[in-house]
């Protein structure tokens, strides 16, 4: 379970304090697939970072009673001068996962072949995305946080990722953040909508969709 209680997140900017999340509440049960909808800049990514624990709320609390991943599908966590293998080794070390047994999996899944032993800065963006996804899957979590995962590699690789995440790991809890209602609709069984710093939770996806459409037009 994940309990988000009365969370506020503010940032300092040149024009004063900006409240990105304003007293939001959400409870996520084990095995649930929860979508979070919001327009660009509505605070979705902030919310996912708070849930992951990478950032701290200004006030309120977030409790986790299961292992929670880092926000997946972001390609920037790599040290460019290190090889793909070194980056994998680093991630395994910080999560306390045995490293040797994951090499084959990452090599095969990322389809990088011998490039795994080359510095990441020599990779194309598609190669980076494949490495990022493969490394994300090398460490197992009870709950995966997915931040706009859609654009990973070509369509064949994209399908492979979908299968790996949504089929092979369908017993896990997932929190998916997106501005694309269709993606949420395909993969989630409930959804919440972020509008102007407030979070509106809905048990039925359709109601969330209707609410989102209504507010993404008027707000």
């Amino acid at each position: 379970m994940i309990f988000i209680k009365d969370v506020v997140k503010q940032y300092h900017t040149r024009h004063g304090e900006v409240t990105v999340l304003d007293h939001i509440n959400l409870t996520i049960n084990n095995g649930e697939k929860v979508g979070i909808l919001g327009r660009n800049g509505s605070g979705k990514s902030t919310m996912i970072r708070l849930i992951s624990g990478a950032e701290q709320p200004t006030s309120g609390s977030i409790e986790r009673s299961m292992s929670v991943s880092w926000p997946l599908a972001f390609g920037g966590a790599f040290q460019g001068t290190l090889t793909g293998l070194d980056n994998l080794r680093f991630i395994c070390r910080i999560y306390g996962v045995e490293f040797e047994s994951r090499i084959d999996y990452v090599q095969e899944f990322s389809e990088l072949g011998p490039y795994l032993k080359e510095p990441v800065k020599t990779y194309s963006s598609g190669m980076r995305a494949r490495l990022a996804f493969a490394i994300s899957m090398a460490v197992e979590f009870d709950c995966f946080l997915i931040d706009e995962i859609i654009a990973v590699g070509d369509s064949r690789f994209h399908e492979k990722c979908q299968y790996e995440l949504f089929e092979k790991r369908k017993d896990r809890t997932m929190i998916i953040v997106s501005h694309q209602p269709d993606f949420i609709k395909t993969h989630c069984d409930k959804a919440a909508v972020l509008v102007a710093g407030k979070l509106y939770a809905f048990e039925q996806i359709d109601k969330a969709m209707a609410f989102y459409h209504e507010h993404s037009v008027t707000v």
Binding site: Y11, R49, S52, G53, A54, E55, Q56, V68, W70, P71, F74, G76, A77, Q79, T81, L82, D86, R89, F90, I91, R93, I94, Y95, G96
Partner: protein, 249 residues
Amino acid sequence: MRVIGALLMREVLTRYGRHNIGFLWLFIEPMLFTLGVTALWTFSNAHHGSNIPIVAFAVTGYSSVLLWRNMPGRTIGAVEPNLSLMYHRNVKIIDVLAARVLLEAAGATTSFFVLSILWISIGWMQPPQDILKVLFGWFMLAWFGASLALLLGCLSERSEVVDKIWHPTSYLLFPLSGAAFIVDFLPPAAQKVILFLPMVHGVELLREGYFGSFVHAHYDISYMASVCFGLTALALAQERYISKRVTPE
């Protein structure tokens, strides 16, 4: 600890890579510094106000400067390039800073010990008279450097002024730090002033350990320890403040 270990390995790889002598640079670089300074001081017949052999004087003095000065040098601005790692919940600001502090301390320490052993074995230096005092002095200097490094590393995240100020400050502190003179040589009024600087106490203790009765050392370790303790407490408070507000990139 596991995370700090992982960051250490990563830091070593990114800084030194796997090419040529790789991570040996970690202590070869400070060794070259110390060697250069030793050579300069030897040939210029530097006045340090005692009959201490110049090689031993330079090795003890310059190594201790490297120890307390390099740690802050590496932690200032260390958070920024590592912000993307903060996406991982178990990587904390303190881990990033601690990894760099440990690496610098290891480099300076190895350099100091390797050079000492080298000079002692070829007879350019006498073995230290009281090795425990040497180690204690070294430890105090390391503590001072580490606490200063943690504090400045955090403060530099709040204001870039820290980075700008540190370079001139550390440069000016070098001649005042006790590395290039012994306190006993100074006039009493100057002694009082110079002993406000905490690292001077550490260097004096280190030198007393090395040269024993050769020198009349001036130090007050309880003063130095209080300063270090204060710096450590401030650093940890700052670390908490920064951690609460850090935004991963």
